[in-house]
């Protein structure tokens, strides 16, 4: 689950990470009053779950309360397009109004899981304030790393980073303290990602998290009810939220062949084979190992709410899940929802013969394929 910048900063502040003074605003009036509280010289920042906001026009400096109000009016309600939002962009519904700081240097700090080490790794780079992916691609050695053992970044590790980054002596102690606080926040919040870009050193010797990005491990939300409350449904694809609520894993894509599959790996492989057959998948949908009648119905409903879908491919390898039970669910859902697009099924596993009989006897127009490749070819041909 992604947090907004202002939410991430609240979490980090509680761990002692210095952040600029500021507050969140949902209206122009709130933004004006926040700017007035901060003396008028502020930065107005769009709050959406995507990076690259500055380049897209979602971050503006103001020198007076009136100017802050004008920026707030322009940014609130705008559709912000960045390299991470896709061409459709995101509607801005919240702002963060913050004090401006006398920035002397910009540094990158980040914490994420290193899969190969099975440990979190703390990353730092002197090249802050720019796209870190570009730095990584151009000059991987510009990114320093410290593996985190036993949940905390040790003092000597943070010092090693501070020296390597060439942080001036007067800011060193506060930078070390902030880095250790970040690591503690990452661990105790069950974050899957924390990024501070930039982490700034100011002319008056302070070390401050000017930006903040924080993702929380969905699997750990059960033990963080306070963080779970920060979820912003406006930032999520409504169909994906709908799917989660029904125990399904759905991701909308751009093609016209809908697919319903059990298992994430097989679901990805199904998308691949649709493309191999010359088509484009409309979605990723994993109905899981159980695939109850209700889940199948909701799966169909979600797939069909995408108007691009012209055919549906169902690819199920029933192991523990019996194919005849599944077939009954498919027939019931198809009748109830009056599905109007062609459905191509590939079913394999326990009681497959009985399952095929149920489909044939239903009187519905199912196309039953003998294997995955044939199913993909049929579905792509039907989708046109």
């Amino acid at each position: 689950m992604k947090l907004h910048e202002y939410q991430a900063k609240e979490v980090l502040r509680a761990y002692g990470v210095p952040t600029p003074r500021g507050s969140m605003a949902k209206t122009v009036a709130e933004a004006r009053s926040a700017a007035a509280d901060l003396g008028g010289k502020v930065v107005v920042k769009a709050q959406i779950h995507a990076g690259g906001r500055g380049k897209g026009g979602g971050v503006k400096l103001a020198h007076s309360v009136d100017e802050a109000e004008r920026h707030a009016a322009a940014i609130l309600g705008m559709t912000l397009v960045t390299h991470q939002t896709g061409p459709q962009g995101r509607l801005v519904q919240r702002l963060l109004v913050e004090e401006q700081l006398p920035i002397e240097r910009e540094i990158y700090l980040g914490i994420t899981l290193d899969r190969a080490l099975s440990k979190p790794v703390f990353m730092a780079s002197a090249q802050g304030g720019v796209e870190i992916e570009e730095v990584a691609a151009r000059d991987p050695s510009a990114i320093l790393r410290e593996a985190i053992d036993g949940a905390q970044l040790q003092g000597y590790q943070a010092r090693r980073l501070a020296f390597a980054l060439g942080i001036a002596p007067e800011a060193r102690a506060s930078a070390v303290q902030a880095m250790q606080a970040l690591a503690k926040a990452h661990d105790e919040s069950d974050a899957s990602l924390v990024e501070i870009n930039p982490f700034v050193l100011t002319a008056d010797g302070r070390a401050v998290a000017l930006d903040a990005k924080m993702d929380i491990d969905d699997n750990a939300l059960f033990r963080h009810p306070d963080l779970a409350e920060l979820r912003d449904l406006d930032e999520e694809e409504p169909l994906e939220t709908d799917a989660i609520d029904h125990g399904l894993n759905y991701i909308k894509l751009d093609g016209n062949v809908g697919c319903m599959v059990n298992g994430a790996g097989l679901a990805m492989a199904t998308m691949d084979i649709i493309q191999y057959a010359g088509g484009m998948p409309a979605n990723f949908l994993d109905v899981g190992g159980g695939a109850s009648k209700d889940q199948i119905k909701n799966g169909f409903r979600i797939i069909l709410s995408d108007p691009n879908v012209k055919a549906i491919m169902i690819n199920i390898f029933g192991g523990i899940l019996k194919v005849d039970v599944l077939a009954e669910g498919i027939v019931a859902a198809a009748q109830e929802l009056k599905i109007g697009v062609p459905m191509v099924l590939r079913l394999e596993g326990t009681n497959v013969e009985k399952g095929r009989e149920i489909l044939a006897d239903s009187g519905l127009d199912f196309i039953v394929a003998s294997d995955m490749k044939e199913a993909a070819q049929q579905a792509v041909a039907r989708a046109g």
């Binding site: 994420t112 990602l193 491990d217 699997n219 750990a220 994430a264 790996g265 990805m268 523990i320 995955m372």
Partner: protein, 287 residues
């Protein structure tokens, strides 16, 4: 021979909820020697003919299991694995899905230098057809033989096995290593075991986008594994960045795409199946 589990494996089942009991019964049906269960609060009772204990320590003292099959729900699953590690079980297959990554980092720390090998979590487990099933895979699609299967995905493992069996090709051992970011056993561990197993004459390896485990495995295979290997990477058409935060991509140096993984496999002499429907036939052509 086979790897990890065989007819001598003594199984303990951790977590005897509905799923645990159902699958324990299925495992017994497919030849597993289930000697005990561990379910806190149910010690002293019996389930499916085996004794149930409150703690792993008691189960080990009384029933001498050497492999655990864990079904404990996500919030307590890491704790159950830690208990099995402390009891020095040789093997733990953890089926549970949705364990917090932070818990698995603690488990990975405990595994280093321990007597235990963990398979999973979030996996179907391991089966040596005709000998022992330690997992939730449908036993009936398997056939005893000499092809080893290793995969990050559960249902894609079944897909490969189904294709092999229908071509009359049996399997030595099939392992789902799990799709989570932190797992106990990786491709290299399994490839090394298959390479040394005299009964395994061919290997199918199924990877997914994300991370660099497949690239590392391909590097390992180069010059070291002489047995024919068929590879496949799921997710060539997946939109980038949907599952990993972008800092994950930094760690792997921008790696993790299907194209890079396929190229690494080909460079290592692995035959990459063009589609997931060609896993069995690609292997059949090699042996």
């Amino acid at each position: 021979m086979s790897i990890l589990v065989d007819e001598t494996t003594r199984v303990v089942v951790q977590g005897l909820g509905r799923a645990g009991l159902f699958h324990a019964e299925q495992c017994i049906r497919f030849g597993a020697n289930v000697v005990a269960g561990v379910h806190p609060g149910r010690g002293g009772s019996e389930a499916l003919g085996f004794p149930v204990f409150d703690t792993m320590r008691e189960a080990v003292a009384e029933a001498r299991p050497d492999a655990s099959l864990a079904f404990v729900p996500a919030a307590g699953a890491a704790d159950a694995v830690l208990e099995a590690i402390e009891a020095e079980l040789a093997l733990v297959a953890c089926i549970t899905e949705g364990i917090p990554a932070r818990d698995m980092v603690r488990v990975a720390d405990a595994l280093r230098g321990s007597a235990t090998r963990l398979i999973g979590p979030n996996c179907p487990g391991v089966i040596s057809p005709g000998k022992c099933k330690l997992g939730i895979m449908p036993g009936h699609i398997h056939k005893p033989g000499s092809v080893g299967v290793v995969s990050r995905s559960g249902t894609l493992t079944y897909e490969a096995v189904g294709q092999l069996s229908s071509l009359g090709i049996g399997q030595s051992t099939c392992i789902g290593i799990g799709g989570d970011p932190v797992i106990g056993t990786n491709f290299i561990d399994v490839l090394e075991m298959f390479n040394e197993d005299s009964d395994t004459t061919g290997i199918i390896m199924i990877g997914e986008i994300g991370g660099t485990a497949e690239e590392q495995a391909a590097e390992f295979v180069k010059g070291r594994v002489k047995k024919p290997i068929v590879g496949f990477i799921a997710g060539a058409t997946a939109p980038p960045g949907r599952r990993m935060g972008h800092a994950g991509a930094i760690i792997s140096g921008g790696k993790g795409t299907a194209a890079e993984k396929q190229a690494a496999m080909e460079a290592a002499g692995i035959a990459v199946a063009p589609t997931p429907a060609d896993l069995g036939s690609t292997l059949a052509a090699l042996i």
